[in-house]
């Protein structure tokens, strides 16, 4: 009923100010075939490349990294407060815990008012992680 009301009143400003979302299942439940069951890194990397690497250049940063493993871009970003660098599979795996927290729990990356990852992109990353984070 709420769903119906939301759609009926969608044109009305006030109704739209309250969250009027619809749907009660995850993409994984609704349409499991929408992404590969075991995505390769080649399918995951473009998501990082498009939505993360513009800011997270380099391959360094993050807690598990040694300082001297950081490349130039990584260092520059560190001074700007944008870390970790996510330009390689190893760097992504190194920072997986933080990535999972930011993308799946806090849903705050990309930050600010940048659009967040789509459900399809999230499902791709999720399955890649479940599949054992293969780099090739």
């Amino acid at each position: 009923m709420l769903k119906l009301m939301c759609r009926l009143f969608a044109g009305v400003a006030v109704a739209m100010m309250v969250a009027c979302g619809s749907g009660d299942r995850t993409l994984n439940e609704v349409d499991p075939d929408v992404v590969a069951q075991k995505p390769s890194f080649a399918q995951v990397y473009p998501i990082f490349q498009r939505d993360c690497i513009p800011c997270h250049t380099g391959t360094g940063g993050g807690e598990e990294d040694e300082e001297d493993e950081e490349d130039e871009a990584g260092k520059r970003n560190r001074t700007l407060g944008v870390e970790p660098g996510l330009e390689s599979c190893a760097a992504i795996i190194n920072n997986l815990e933080d990535i999972v927290e930011d993308v799946f729990i806090d849903n705050n990356m990309p930050p600010g008012a940048w659009p967040r990852l789509t459900t399809k992109e999230k499902l791709t990353i999720e399955r890649w992680i479940d599949g054992g984070t293969q780099c090739d």
Binding site: R7, A10, G11, A13, M16, M17, A19, C20, G21, S22, G23, D24, R25, T26, L27, V30, D31, D33, V34, V35, P46, I47, Q49, R50, D51, I53, P54, C55, T57, A73, R76, N77, L80, I105, D106, N107, N108, P110, P111, G112, A113, W114, P115, R116, T118, T119, K120, E121
Partner: protein, 469 residues
């Protein structure tokens, strides 16, 4: 410099241009005639078929579906009404709407009874044609097509000293954005309109390629130039009818300048992206005040940008869009529909329906410089698996023109990209200030708040400079 480059890429990618919502200009222009042209001495209403004055996009833009290069009436509006300092005569109603302590500053405005007047009738415009043509002083528009103009074209003398009906007009449009501590170019457009004979215009708009906002698979760092628009058009016909053929963005809903808005981006109407361009035919008419635009087109796959210069580069799918409604002086309503038919590989089928409207109480209440617009879109799309689902997007915006050239803005976006999926909705709020000190310069600053259905709310400050000619 790599970071700069990367931020350019980043900004173009996701949250690029958010400038003035231009349908708002149309909505609020009707409160006085002198917004769009100098007034005649006495007014004779021409027959309906000859009327050029309406609230539709073609009143101010070369492309009758709106956006991009302005025609002479649009240029006049941009000089007389939009800025803090006008360079065409300011409408009488706005003489004392300048910012506090700013005073009457327009050198182009006489502030007395000696206001410039245009020709009263078409016949009079023809009589004085030579004389009026000689008074032109317009560096950005050249020549006049051979032969006498028709009653359907823009008339010399009505736009003060601007060339009403030039053979060649070259424009420019540059947007710079400020994000973090960097200033970078975000959009560059060079539109050229050639009007060799009456009733025929070629418009070619070359711009820098934006980036796909939807499909990770299309990632490229490409920022090459390409034809954003390239079409030939037959126009200057009764009821402002036209037909155009070539590359364009289909006419659907409110053609917002803020292409990141969900009502544009979710339906492949993002004006910054090469992927939004289609190749086809569009017809339309605007018999003051109803309007209709209808198009049939072919397009490249959703995941593929069409060739930079080859406007015939399309894949197998096709689409069609219709946009119609009624634009009165203080309000308007419109409805749009668009279908795209193509294989899953090319992006799948979509059917989209939209309803929109504008309210401009300013026209009837001079002390209330407020304008409001909204659009609600819903429709079906196919996921990559082939299964169909629905999506919804909503946009609303209010503008308050505090003083000449100073506008406060409040905007709200909502999107539900897949109505079967839980927690994929998102609201976005924007509170903005737009200042136009001079014709062709706008500074736009916005505080933006993104509220996803799950997780944290994000915010940022996005500042943009817009220069145009």
């Amino acid at each position: 410099m790599r970071l700069t480059h990367v931020l350019v890429v980043a900004a173009t990618l996701s949250l690029a241009a958010t400038a003035q919502a231009t349908p708002m200009y149309a909505a609020r222009s009707a409160r006085t005639c002198e917004n769009c042209h100098v007034g005649p001495n006495k007014w004779e209403n021409p027959p309906l078929a000859d009327r050029k004055c309406n609230m539709s996009c073609q009143s101010c833009h070369v492309d009758p579906a709106g956006g991009g290069m302005r025609n002479t009436s649009g240029r006049f509006f941009g000089q007389s009404t939009l800025p803090m300092i006008a360079t065409s005569p300011r409408p009488t109603d706005d003489w004392d709407r300048n910012a506090p302590y700013f005073g009457r500053r327009d050198r182009a405005t006489s502030y007395d009874a000696n206001l410039p007047v245009g020709p009263n009738t078409f016949a009079e415009a023809m009589e004085d044609f030579e004389e009026l043509s000689q008074e032109m002083a317009d560096g950005w528009a050249r020549g006049t097509p051979q032969g006498k103009p028709s009653a359907y074209g823009l008339l010399q003398g009505r736009y003060e000293r601007l060339n009403a009906d030039p053979v060649l007009r070259v424009g420019a449009d540059l947007r710079l954005a400020y994000l973090g501590s960097l200033i970078f170019p975000m959009q560059i457009d060079v539109p050229v309109a050639v009007h060799p004979v009456h009733h025929l215009t070629f418009l070619v708009n070359t711009g820098v390629r934006g980036r796909s906002g939807e499909y990770a698979e299309t990632y490229t760092k490409d920022h090459s130039f390409y034809f954003r628009e390239a079409f030939a058009m037959l126009h200057e016909a009764p009821y402002q009818a036209y037909i155009k053929a070539g590359r364009f963005v289909p006419s659907f809903g409110l053609r917002l300048d803020d292409h990141t808005s969900r009502i544009r981006r979710s339906f492949e109407l993002d004006g910054a992206l090469a992927e939004s361009r289609v190749t086809g035919v569009e017809i339309g008419a605007m018999p003051n005040y109803p309007f209709l635009n209808a198009s049939w087109f072919r397009m490249a796959s959703r995941t593929r940008a069409p060739g930079d210069w080859d406007i015939t580069d399309v894949d197998d799918g096709w689409g069609s869009a219709i946009n119609a409604g009624f634009r009165e002086l203080s309000w308007s309503v419109g409805a749009s529909a668009m279908i795209r038919r193509r294989s899953i590989d090319e992006g799948g089928d979509t059917s989209t329906y939209g309803l929109y409207g504008v309210l401009n109480p300013w026209r009837n209440h001079r002390s209330l410089p407020l304008t409001y617009q909204f659009e609600y879109d819903t429709g079906s799309l196919q996921r990559a698996s082939g299964r169909s689902t629905d999506q919804v997007a909503f946009y609303q915006e209010a503008n308050y023109v505090a003083w000449n050239g100073v506008t406060l803005l409040l905007a709200h976006d909502f999107s539900d990209p897949d109505t079967e999926i839980i927690d994929d909705e998102e609201h976005r709020l924007q509170l903005g200030l737009q200042v136009s000190p001079y014709a062709g310069v706008t500074l736009d600053g916005r505080f933006r708040l993104l509220m996803p259905a799950v997780g944290q709310t994000g915010s940022d400050l996005f500042v943009q400079m817009h220069f145009y000619r």
